[in-house]
Point group: C2
Chain length 341, copies 2
Amino acid sequence: MNLRQLAEKLNLSQTTVSRALNGYPEVNETTRKRVLDAAARYHYRPNYRARGLATGRAMSIGHVIPASNQPQMVNMIFADFIAGAGEVYARHGYDMVISMVRDEDELRAYRGVAEKGAVDGILVHSPTCDDPRIALLSQLEIPFLVHGRSSRVRSDYSWLDVNNARAFERATRHLIGLGHRRIALVNGQEQLDFALRRRAGYLKALRDSAIAPDSILMRTDEMSEPYGHVTASELLDLPDPPTAFLASSVVPALGIRRAIEERGLVMGRDVSIICFDDRISYLPNGLEAPIFTAMRSSIRAAGRRCAELLIDRIARPDSTTVTELWEAEFVQGQSTGPAPG
Amino acid sequence: MNLRQLAEKLNLSQTTVSRALNGYPEVNETTRKRVLDAAARYHYRPNYRARGLATGRAMSIGHVIPASNQPQMVNMIFADFIAGAGEVYARHGYDMVISMVRDEDELRAYRGVAEKGAVDGILVHSPTCDDPRIALLSQLEIPFLVHGRSSRVRSDYSWLDVNNARAFERATRHLIGLGHRRIALVNGQEQLDFALRRRAGYLKALRDSAIAPDSILMRTDEMSEPYGHVTASELLDLPDPPTAFLASSVVPALGIRRAIEERGLVMGRDVSIICFDDRISYLPNGLEAPIFTAMRSSIRAAGRRCAELLIDRIARPDSTTVTELWEAEFVQGQSTGPAPG
DNA sequence: TGTTGCGCCCAAAGCGCTTTGGATGCCGTC
DNA sequence: GACGGCATCCAAAGCGCTTTGGGCGCAACA
């Protein structure tokens, strides 16, 4: 059933039917009712592409995901992020289109998706420290928003980020306040901007307390459970082991806890952990009370807000760029305590 | 840059340019070369919606995800599944469009996405035992493929599934072979078809060995780490605790292990675990050697194969329905051993 | 020389919608 | 009674592409 057929059934012109359906004022209310009834009865739905062609809008938003064999990008937070974003898209009538591409095709994919007009805007995930996507998208003149920031990109662009430096600075300071001096950092991959900022925050807190950083305590890799376990095992077996761990996510924190308990140590007494908690739905940090002391910021909420900001930029394309910096919340769990000895 | 402008620049008709770009034979090879060069130079890319309108194909595939507050659906396996599917889509020039909808709107969303012609086919996730989506999509006459099956739906439809019953039957049998008699089942939510089949396999193995099932040992809920922990804690504190656990995923298995170790017991000696391992990228079951003894089947590979099957169905819409049942692979880890005592 | 056949190219229709620019009829007003 | 204004509707153009149904020129054939 298309518009023409529906119009014929109603003995109206396509114009009138279209206007009735789209809420334009120049159509009699009784006529509008007739049209709406008929549309519902025949399950009429305006053709997506025809409408897009006519209006020039795609009513969809693109996410380009590099389908690397290294799973970092399609990562654990992705599902929750798009769940949040998707909610907002749906509310505004947008669809989410995801292009999975080989890493080496990534930039070309952004080009492609923009030039063929498949989307009205693009959401950029997991920026690196010097991310080339930002310059490309600016040049393509398509609205976009970055979830995160790119430290070495000086141009103007819209982003939403958590204050990762501040979060890790506070976490480190908290541990120092508890008397810890040897604090390990189990970080994500440091070509990613957020990881770099987290390390910067960690280092700043150490410096402020005149604690010399020890490079053996600073680890970086993809955030998996075994990574946390292997790393913590190594470090705990050092002659001078850390008394506290800072983990970039709940996932490696689970591995760290396991290494601690394997050695007959007690988390929160012998060894402390603070982790960053993205509130991943199936890896909750405890059911009622939090297990891990954590810096917490909901990735799902970030997805929602990113979607709102991007949709707003699409609606008003020449508005000034928008930035939003969220502070992570400190939550006291059972994984921290005074430094032993 | 659109087709008309490109054609003008080349002093050719739109027809010829279109044909040159789309590889039709009736155009001189030197002309084709000119066209391709110009297209590359000007970054010409055929407009997605216009092409769709003209061809009647959307070149995209829909996934409808209920954005429930219960995170079951947007779950941990989702990211890996779509990573696999996305690879194949990309290779065939398809995009993936994801509609996030409120649970109560789910069926309507399938209708909508089909009727407005936004997608050429639909991939159905996480079917329940009696899933209404299958009848709806059949009636809408849009190609679709179910990842999983719906036990109580008798009509003909295409699906790809892991032999969940068989996997859990074998796992249970393996534990029984090791002398275990009290085996707990830490299952997913049993309105979902895969969970029901897993329980059926578990029960069959028990029955075949004349072991009476004990309903206290059969648990079902969303598969999270705390769920595994809480459940195992309860069961291990019973006067007559299980000596082995069967877990529906690595995630609750992590919680079960934690409960075991908290009690000073040793996994694989005092208590055994077999879990289903979907090979989630950031929750690998060990790095080199597997930690958990497991029934293994890659969710990412399933995503790839589902995409292939669906694309094939789209290409040949009146082919007969296709079904594919995968056997999970048994992998020996360090989490199983002879029943104690 | 006239006729085919073929290689190459083009004009125009059509996909299903939105939107511009009227047309029509009816009312009240001077 | 002519006229402007308003409410309601319509015809047709246009979005950018694909595809149908030729047209034109040249070589080969009779």
